[in-house]
Each structure stands twice: as structure tokens, then as C-alpha cells.
């Protein structure tokens, strides 16, 4: 009986610690995903400028080169482009993807697709530059959020677990 009681306490503590850790990880992931998007956009900009590859091929290429969760977005966008235009396909892929970035970030990432495949290469490059500068702002915000919240949620998880165990004791 005693053993069961203590194992349940240990389970509660492990659960709350895990929840705290998972929530704090979301902030870390958000920053790294935004950074991945930034480098991917830079790659796309270069490819549009110098290689004139079709967008679908560029996106497939990026999906292959990146192994994080953003690869899935590019793969999905490339699939969507078979039936839709580039802007709609990109927006759909970004909005449906299960990634850690917030709604505001998604809006900025979506703005990247606004002129995709619709104007000449110079216009597209300008549009990508604009969304890159917006993305930089979001990365700054994500950094501040991360600094503020990662430690908080980690310790909050552990301490809440200890509090529940003490109350139940």
C-alpha cells in the first residue's frame, strides 16, 4: 500500500515536470523554426535569382535538405502547387502545418508567398526581402519570449508537482 502511494506521488511529479518541460520546449522550437524559415527563404531567394528553377523543384529541394519540422511545410506546399497556384498552396501548407510558431509568425511566413510565382524574379526577390525583415522582427520577439518563459515553465512544472504531492501527503 505504501509503495503504491509513493509510486503515484512519483508519477504526479514526473508528469508535471514533463508538462513544464514540454511547454518550455515550445518556445525553443519556435525560435529555431523561425531561423530555419529565414535560411530557407534566403536559399529560395538565391535560387530565384541565379538558377531559375521551377518553384516546385526548389521547394522539394528544401524539403530534402532540412530535417526539421519545416521540411514538412515545404513538402506540403510543393504538393499543393500541383493543383493550386503558389500563393494558395503555400498559405494552405503553412496554416495546416503542426509547428510551434504562433499565429503572428504564420502571418509573416504567409506574406512570403504573396507574390510567389506571380511577378518577375526581381519583384519576387523584393517581396522575399520584405518578409525576411519581418521575420527578423519575429525572431527578436521569439528570443525575448524564450528568455522570459523557458526557465519559468521548467521550474513551474517541478514546483507545482511538489506542491500537489505535499497537499496529498
Amino acid at each position: 500500500m505504501e509503495f503504491v502511494k509513493f509510486s503515484i506521488y512519483a508519477l504526479i511529479l514526473a508528469c508535471t515536470t514533463g508538462i513544464g518541460f514540454l511547454v518550455s520546449q515550445k518556445y525553443t522550437k519556435r525560435e529555431s523554426e523561425l531561423k530555419d524559415f529565414k535560411s530557407a527563404f534566403n536559399l529560395i531567394k538565391t535560387k530565384i535569382r541565379y538558377t531559375y528553377e521551377p518553384l516546385q523543384e526548389i521547394f522539394d529541394d528544401i524539403a530534402k535538405n532540412y530535417n526539421s519540422s519545416i521540411a514538412y511545410v515545404f513538402k506540403q506546399a510543393s504538393n499543393n502547387m500541383q493543383t493550386q497556384n503558389a500563393t494558395d498552396g503555400w498559405n494552405k501548407a503553412v496554416n495546416e502545418a503542426v509547428i510551434s510558431i504562433t499565429k503572428e509568425d504564420k502571418r509573416v511566413v504567409c506574406s512570403f508567398g504573396k507574390l510567389l510565382g506571380q511577378t518577375d524574379s526581381q519583384g519576387q526577390i523584393n517581396e522575399i526581402d520584405l518578409s525576411l525583415s519581418l521575420l527578423d522582427e519575429q525572431i527578436e520577439k521569439a528570443k525575448i519570449d524564450k528568455q522570459k518563459n523557458v526557465k519559468l515553465y521548467k521550474s513551474l512544472g517541478v514546483i507545482t508537482g511538489i506542491a500537489i504531492v505535499i497537499v496529498l501527503f
Binding site: 522570459k148 518563459n149 519559468l152 521550474s155 513551474l156 514546483i159 507545482t160 511538489i162 506542491a163 505535499i166 497537499v167 501527503f169
Partner: protein, 64 residues
């Protein structure tokens, strides 16, 4: 009254104090306030039985 109860209340007090510090450091003063209030309520529910037994003891001692 068992000594366990005292330790329990002391433990809750320490935990609430630490939580208050962490939350107010992170700039969430209102949530820190709520945590403190919740701690007070939890401790009150724990000790309410003892308080009621104290009152009844006082009553019997003074024949009220």
C-alpha cells in the same frame, strides 16, 4: 494534533513563496498574487478542522 500537519503547512508555505518569487521575476505579478491566495485557501482548508475543534474546546472550558 499530529506534527505532520505542521510540516505540511510549512511545506506549502515554502512552495508558495518560491512560486511567488518565480512568477514575479517573470513579470507576472497578478498570477503571483493568485498563487499566494490559492496557497492561503489550501492551508485554510487543511487547518479548518483544527480551528473548529479549538472553538469547541473553548466553549466547553468556559461553559458557553
Amino acid at each position: 494534533m499530529e506534527i505532520d500537519l505542521l510540516f505540511k503547512i510549512a511545506g506549502i508555505g515554502i512552495i508558495v513563496a518560491v512560486l511567488h518569487q518565480i512568477l514575479s521575476k517573470a513579470g507576472r505579478e497578478d498570477q503571483a498574487m493568485m498563487v499566494t491566495l490559492a496557497g492561503v485557501v489550501i492551508v485554510l482548508t487543511v487547518v479548518i478542522k483544527e480551528i473548529s475543534s479549538l472553538f469547541s474546546a473553548v466553549r466547553t472550558v468556559f461553559n458557553l
